[in-house]
Amino acid sequence: MTLDDLDAVDRRLINRLQDGLPLVARPYAAVAGELGIAEGDLLYRLERLREGGVLSRFGPMYHAERLGGGLTLAALAVPEADYERVTDTVNAFPEVAHNYRREHALNMWFVLATETPEAIAETIAGIEAATGLPVYNMPKEEEFHVRLHLPV
């Protein structure tokens, strides 16, 4: 499913739901009312968008630190010849929430989310031991903004 498969209502729905579902008794009916469509139509479209991969997920976005856990961004400089092996090694850690290949000498960037703040250091030590590479740990020191909104 791609951008070409979306009609005008899908686009309005995606834009609207990036802003958040109201926490009310019948939340989908409330948003459907705003958009002038039926609740059933909204649910059908939302399911299609999620199944089709246009939406990665739909649900509560939890704040890791306020859940009491640890969160950090970390990077590795992985030799190209070893890239696949190191990807498998790093991804096998359940604490790795996201992992992206990026174009730089530091060519692997991943987010670690752990149950406790202390577990970040243990996980980093585990990744260093498993990959044989130094991990560049870059925890946020200040959050200026977090608000992903991609209009379609």
Partner: protein, 185 residues
């Protein structure tokens, strides 16, 4: 923060449920576990979650509102797949900004249209001099570069150097997950 008793476990003695270090009690934690992969797409999602965790839909809704108020939940929202929406150029822009000015400039950069995430992070000298990170998303690298030029201008003399690190492959994207362990209470 108000502490409410879990409606599924009425507590005649008036004791409040114990909370763990993260400020979530067992009922909150059950809701997090039941919803972290997604909210049910049914007319009454709170009732559906409630049936899974042994609470009424009203209690689930009330707890989710309270968690949103405390900032534990940022919002309940759709997370788009950048690439599928045509945002094929996703650049992590990184900037080496004067420490004395970064808090003011970080807030200014964060307010610029198109910046989705903006953080101050530690340098790793000499290899990594960048201390300000701002994510930009565009339909082409040219578009991301135009946005980056706006940031560059805003940072002015306070910025010594910058880079744009494009993502060339998603290696993993499962999101934040709590382990399904029994809360220790």
């Amino acid at each position: 923060m108000s502490v409410s008793t879990c409606p599924s476990r009425p507590d005649p003695d008036g004791d409040v449920p114990e909370r763990d270090a993260r400020g979530l009690d067992a009922a909150d934690r059950a809701i997090v576990l039941a919803t972290q992969a997604g909210l049910p797409l049914v007319p009454d999602p709170w009732g559906a979650v409630g049936r899974e965790v042994g609470m009424s839909g009203e209690a689930v809704l009330e707890r989710m509102r309270a968690m949103q108020e405390r900032g534990v939940i940022r919002r309940v929202a759709a997370v788009p797949n950048h690439y599928r929406l045509g945002y094929v150029a996703n650049g992590m822009t990184v900037w080496d900004v004067d420490d004395a000015q970064i808090d003011r400039l970080g807030r200014e950069v964060a307010a610029i249209e198109g910046v989705s995430h903006c953080y101050r992070r530690p340098r790793h000298l000499p290899h990594w001099p960048y201390n300000l990170f701002a994510m930009l998303h565009g339909c082409s690298r040219e578009e991301v570069e135009r946005q980056a030029a706006v940031l560059r201008e805003r940072l002015g003399e306070a910025c010594r150097d910058h880079r744009i690190l494009y993502s060339s492959r998603i290696l993993k994207k499962t999101g934040l997950r709590l382990a399904r362990r029994v809360p220790q209470e």
